[in-house]
């Protein structure tokens, strides 16, 4: 299992646009991908759940990835977070 911790730098946080892009990315992989923030967990394939985390600038999120393609998924997601959030 892969785990990524990331502190959000984008001023608007995980708003609709990056949430949509993140969900799109998560759907490309077989592995289960979850995002945690302050004890709340969201399935990264569910846009409403991801948005309802309410992750804002300076919040820390933890992405957990489990499955066959976990490693490549983790790389891609890490790259996405750094470029978009």
């Amino acid at each position: 299992m892969e785990q990524i911790k990331y502190v959000i730098k984008d001023n608007a946080g995980i708003h609709a646009r990056p949430a949509g892009l993140l969900v799109k990315l998560a759907k490309e992989f077989e592995s289960s991908i979850t995002i945690e923030k302050d004890g709340k967990t969201a399935d990264a394939r569910k846009i409403l759940a991801v948005m309802s985390l309410g992750a804002k600038k300076d919040d820390e999120i933890t992405v957990k990835i489990d499955g066959n393609d976990a490693e490549s998924a983790a790389n891609k997601i890490k790259e996405f977070l750094e470029n978009n959030l």
Binding site: A16, R17, A19, I47, L48, A49, M51, S52, G54
Partner: protein, 549 residues
């Protein structure tokens, strides 16, 4: 035949079927169903049809306004296909044995409440997205069919009024004319109708009668009359008039490619006002000499969050490249007052026209201003771009703007990003204050463009959105003409050009007066370019008697 009287905002005739633009305000009834399986299938079918509608909207927006603005329609698709949303609806149908509409309504309320209760104001706004996607499915279930994309024939649209976000979704090729219950001659729908060159009537009391839907209708934009189920005599009279008008438009085509030179040899620049990158086609089709007013706010209005530098850059670059060396004057963000954007979180104001708007927002939130300026300067390497700043009232505002411009230019230089160092900087003269000190301001800028709509409202102290004031509002008021003359004289004394980019510029009754004042440039909506060129070519300035002052 039923006749409804309204106020025309564009002189043209439209003949076609009437369709209502309705927002999702359906009455949802709760009833028990016989088969849970059938009801779930009914829901899924409506949902899939809503998703494919969103796909079409996405493709259309992608072509017209670019990926950044189109993305919202893709996000709406994802929301509609979200597992939690669908499970909730299907569970309610199963466990309560009730209809899909009620299940959708309940689910929509629950999810939107969840967003509405979030701390972050941006996220709270997402409650609207949930309502929006749910309404789209409900429209399918309830047969409230208002889908311009599927509509086979073009229609005349009637609505209470239309917001910018609503008109952006309209397939313009399916719209013959607009009729609205509210609105003023400067409302968004009126401006849109003028830029599309189609008949439009506002303040049409009684138009929103459901029994008129689908009926043959005529808009007579010359009288403001609307005829529902016109009799044969009316139909043939107005069809003939329509043909005559179309012939006149064809004759105007002869003016394409001709220079705008008066009989006595003065060259006048005639440029186009545009409010969206999709207007570029009309600009080129009507042979504009340049873009005199590029209303950049549409980029912000169509976005769900602050548009990035790259998104803006690609739009400005497209505009500059399409104009192929002709002047492209981009006006920096002019929001506040009648143009509101949710994510700016601007507080409610009692008197927004006199409030926190345009350059006042840009100078107090320089991060937004700088992003836009960087995008414009980067695009300046690809064409003949000028920048124009709105709502100026004092010299120190211009000095602050120039400091920020300098910072942006320095940044770009350090980053080795190409831009045009000689980009002209101009200001809009739309406050009496700026007009009265135009001798001082002229020394600081490269051009003036007089925004007559705001200048009129501020000079006469009359809210231009207020329908009750239309009878008092004299657009030819001597005070306005005197201010225009003052600005023009002060500009010329300091060697800069002076233009007009408000509604007065396209008023052919006033063209002679404006030319005799010495105006160098007129920027008007694309359909007004050729009639104005004809007027300029037929004018002899030396023979105009100065009657105003």
């Amino acid at each position: 035949m039923i006749i409804i009287k309204g106020k025309s905002v564009f002189k043209a005739i439209a003949i076609g079927k009437l369709a209502f633009y309705k927002r999702g305000k359906q009455q949802i009834k709760r009833y028990h169903i016989d088969s849970v399986q059938d009801e779930i299938k009914r829901f899924q079918k409506a949902r899939d049809s809503a998703v494919s509608e969103l796909k079409k909207l996405y493709d259309k927006a992608l072509k017209e306004v670019g990926e950044a603005s189109a993305l919202i329609f893709e996000i709406h698709q994802m929301m509609l296909l979200d597992d939690d949303y669908n499970e909730s609806i299907e569970n309610i149908i199963k466990t309560q044995n009730i209809n899909a509409e009620f299940a959708i309504g309940t689910t929509s309320d629950n999810f939107s409440q969840m967003f509405a209760s979030m701390e972050d104001s941006y996220m709270r706004e997402r409650a609207h997205d949930i309502k929006d996607i749910s309404d789209r499915v409900l429209n399918k279930l309830l047969g409230v069919e208002f889908d311009f994309i599927n509509s086979k024939e073009p229609v005349i649209i009637a609505a209470d009024d239309l917001a910018p976000s609503e008109t952006v979704q309209l397939d313009k090729s399916k719209v013959l004319g607009f009729i609205t219950l509210y609105g003023s001659s400067n409302s968004h729908t009126a401006i849109l109708a003028r830029s599309m060159n189609i008949a439009s009537v506002i303040n049409a009391n009684g138009i929103l009668n459901d029994s008129y839907a689908g009926k043959m209708t005529i808009i007579d934009g010359f009288t403001g009359n609307i005829y529902i189920e016109p009799d044969d005599a009316t139909l043939s009279r107005l069809s003939a008039k329509k043909a005559l008008e179309e012939e006149k438009i064809r004759l105007l085509e002869n003016y394409k490619g001709k220079p705008n030179i008066t009989i006595d040899g003065k060259k006048i620049e005639i440029y186009a006002n545009i409010g969206n990158i999709s207007d570029m086609a009309a600009v080129l089709k009507n042979d504009a000499g340049g873009i005199g007013l590029f209303r950049s706010e549409f980029i912000y209005l169509e976005s769900k969050t602050y548009p990035t530098e790259n998104e803006q850059f690609s739009i400005y670059k497209t505009a500059a490249e399409n104009m192929a060396g002709k002047k492209t004057i981009i006006r920096t963000l002019d929001i506040g007052a009648d143009k509101k954007i949710n994510y700016f979180n601007l507080p409610h104001e009692e008197n927004p026209a006199l409030g926190y708007r345009a350059i006042r927002i840009c100078l107090t939130r320089p991060e937004i201003f700088k992003t836009q300026l960087r995008a414009i300067f980067r695009a300046s390497a690809f064409g003949n771009i000028s920048i124009m700043f709105p709502m100026i009232t004092s010299l120190c505002e211009i000095q602050k703007i120039k400091e920020i411009v300098k910072e942006v230019q320095n940044e770009l230089e350090t980053e080795n990003i190409p831009f045009n160092k000689n980009t002209e900087l101009g200001i809009m003269i739309e406050t009496p204050a700026a007009a009265l000190i135009s001798d001082i301001l002229a020394k600081e800028v490269d051009f003036f463009s007089i925004g007559t709509n705001d200048l009129t409202q501020y000079t006469l102290a009359m809210d231009r959105q207020n329908q009750k004031l239309e009878e008092f509002l004299n657009p030819y008021h001597t005070s306005i003409l005197r201010l225009i003359k003052l600005v023009c004289d002060n500009g010329h004394k300091n060697g800069i050009w002076v233009g007009i980019c408000g509604e007065l510029g396209s008023d052919l009754n006033l063209t002679e007066t404006l030319l005799s004042i010495g105006i160098d440039e007129l920027s008007v909506s694309p359909p007004n370019i050729l009639p104005l060129r004809k007027k300029v070519i037929e004018t002899d300035i030396s023979k105009i008697e100065n009657k105003i002052f």
